[in-house]
């Protein structure tokens, strides 16, 4: 379990993290969302024991990160932003070094090394110096280092940043595989990733915790939630008909691709109504979609207003 209470970090005049509190239970994958400079990395650095908080407390698996740093660090696997590693070393040498420091030896050590090398497909590059590896491999070496000791808690700062779509997919399935019995905290800019990976999302901007909910709950805050969108050759007529429905609050037409979106009045299930309308009137509809909500819109809504406040303050 991770337990964070009233955590703050101040750099000179800048309050990078402002009184954040939350808990994470085993089995949860927590996504940290926020614009650049929101305080995500700073928070993760404090949880990992790299930076000391200005105020507040952090407990990891029952150990206070400040009072008992060694006990806490033993239970954490951490991938810093950009996956730094010693460039002149080979992945083999680097993982051996981490295994040494983590105190792994004998059979356990061999098994764990084999396991992470296999899981991250590092066999081919084991004896090549890290500085000559591609970005994808460097990231995988960083991940291998983080999961080597099979930690209870994984803190991954932008684990898929800069990877190509295939590599992103690999890293995501790796995280999903490990999610069952661990606590995983990842930070990301990629909202689809929150959807694909996280059981919970925390939105931070300007150092403040602005939202703490499941991705589905966040989507429900979107004005697109429950909306119906469609494309048709007969736009004017369809728009006219949609506007005539009492369940529809508003109709918008995308100027670029002509997509029509109908927004429901509060608490109304719009999809069956619209599909019935299309069937009855026999409209030539190419595509009909139910909108569960748009995370990017919710994200903007939450973070932009917070930053505006901050700029005025």
């Amino acid at each position: 379990m991770i337990e964070i209470r009233n955590l703050s970090k101040r750099y000179g005049n800048l309050l990078a993290v402002d009184d954040i509190s939350f808990r994470v239970e085993p089995g949860q994958v927590l996504g940290f969302l926020g614009p650049n400079g929101a305080g995500k990395s700073t928070t993760m650095k404090m949880v990992a024991g790299f930076l000391a908080p200005t105020a507040g407390s952090i407990k990891v698996a029952g150990f206070d990160v400040i009072e008992q740093p060694m006990e806490a660090k033993r239970r954490i696997g951490y991938l810093p932003e950009g996956a730094p590693a010693y460039g002149e070393m080979t992945p083999r040498g680097f993982l051996d070094f981490v295994a040494d420091i983590r105190g792994l030896d004998g059979d356990v050590r061999r098994k764990r090394l084999d396991e992470v090398v296999g899981r991250l497909n590092l066999q081919r590059v084991l004896d090549q110096s890290i500085e000559t590896l591609s970005k994808g491999f460097k990231r995988r070496v960083g991940l291998a280092q983080a999961i080597l000791h099979d930690p209870q808690v994984l803190i991954l700062d932008e684990p898929t940043d800069g990877l190509d779509p295939n590599q992103k997919h690999e890293v995501r399935s790796l995280i999903q595989d490990m999610a069952k019995d661990k606590i995983i905290v990842i930070s990301t800019h990629i909202l689809e990733e929150v959807h694909a990976l996280c059981s919970r999302a925390i939105v931070i901007a300007g150092g403040k915790l602005l939202a703490d909910a499941t991705p589905a709950e966040l989507e429900r805050r979107s004005r697109y939630h429950g909306a119906v969108s469609l494309t048709t050759k007969d736009t004017p007529q369809v728009v006219e008909a949609l506007r005539g429905l009492s369940e529809v609050a508003q109709v918008e037409i995308d100027a670029r691709d002509g997509r029509i979106t109908a927004f429901p009045r509060a608490g109304v299930a719009l999809f069956p109504v619209v599909s019935e309308l299309i069937r009855n009137r026999n409209f030539p509809v190419d595509e009909l979609a139910f909108e569960s909500g748009r995370l990017d819109e919710v994200f903007r809504q939450i973070t932009v207003s917070a930053q505006g406040e901050r700029a005025h303050a």
């Binding site: 750099y11 650095k45 990992a48 024991g49 790299f50 930076l51 740093p69 060694m70 660090k73 033993r74 954490i76 951490y78 810093p80 932003e81 950009g82 730094p84 590693a85 010693y86 460039g87 002149e88 070393m89 040498g93 070094f97 981490v98 040494d100 420091i101 983590r102 105190g103 110096s129 280092q145």
Partner: protein
């Protein structure tokens, strides 16, 4: 406790030899050490079977070569971001400072050991006091350690290796000459005599020369021990303080 320092020590020492820099450094050290000894020191002309001419130039050789080794100790970790990785492993700051320092010291020790042909030469040519030569080596290694501890601290203070190098050279130069008019004159005009004496007593050169004459005095050993310990302690403080930026 011991094993983390040991792991860091091994990684760092292997790191020196992973690049050609280590071999270039050792070659330059050996060439300069022998050139200074045989040409500038007048090793043969002195007609004495000892290594005084050899050790006399070590402080000046170290003044530039040790800061070159020390400058990357922490500046590079901070620049590449690996400091974040290292210090979130179950390692204390002190273990990391110590492991890195000992590896750099061992590296310089290896370079120093490789000057053994000079020792063979002087034994072949005459009948030197080998006890005094051992003392000279010990003094030389201790002084290198003190320079290195200073370099470790200043390397932790910046992420720029060039700045770390220059600062270390300047501080080492001042400490080297603390017992000489160049430095003392700046203080003797206004400071009380006790302070001037105090400054004079922290001179590297006086303590080094005492040892390299073959007299291992406990006070000189304590001096170098304290010097190394204090600068390493300061290194740990600076690493803690500066790691955030």
């Amino acid at each position: 406790m011991k094993s983390a320092t040991w792991s860091i020590f091994r990684r760092e020492l292997a790191g020196y030899f992973a690049t050609p820099v280590a071999y270039v450094f050792i070659a330059i050290f050996l060439i300069l050490a022998s050139a200074m000894c045989f040409y500038m020191g007048g090793f043969f002309e002195r007609g004495q079977a000892d290594l005084a001419a050899f050790f006399a130039f070590h402080p000046w050789l170290y003044l530039f070569l040790v800061p070159a080794v020390a400058m990357r100790l922490w500046a590079e970790e901070r620049k590449s971001g690996t400091i974040e990785l290292l210090l979130t492993l179950p390692v204390t700051t002190w273990q990391a400072v110590l492991g890195k320092f000992l590896a750099a010291w061992a590296f310089i020790g290896i370079a120093l050991l490789l000057t053994f042909p000079v020792w063979i030469t002087v034994n072949y040519l005459g009948d030197p006091d080998n006890g005094a030569i051992v003392a000279g080596y010990i003094g030389s290694l201790l002084m290198a350690g003190a320079f290195l501890a200073i370099g470790s601290c200043l390397s932790a203070a910046t992420r720029n290796q060039v700045i770390a190098f220059i600062l270390t050279v300047v501080v080492c130069f001042l400490l080297l000459l603390a017992g000489y008019p160049l430095v003392l004159d700046a203080f003797s005009a206004w400071a009380p005599q006790a302070i001037v004496d105090g400054i004079a007593s922290i001179s590297f050169l006086t303590h080094f020369q005492a040892i390299s004459k073959g007299v291992i005095d406990l006070r000189d050993l304590v001096y170098f021990g304290l010097m190394i310990g204090a600068w390493l302690y300061a290194s740990a403080l600076v690493v803690e303080m500066k790691k955030a930026d």
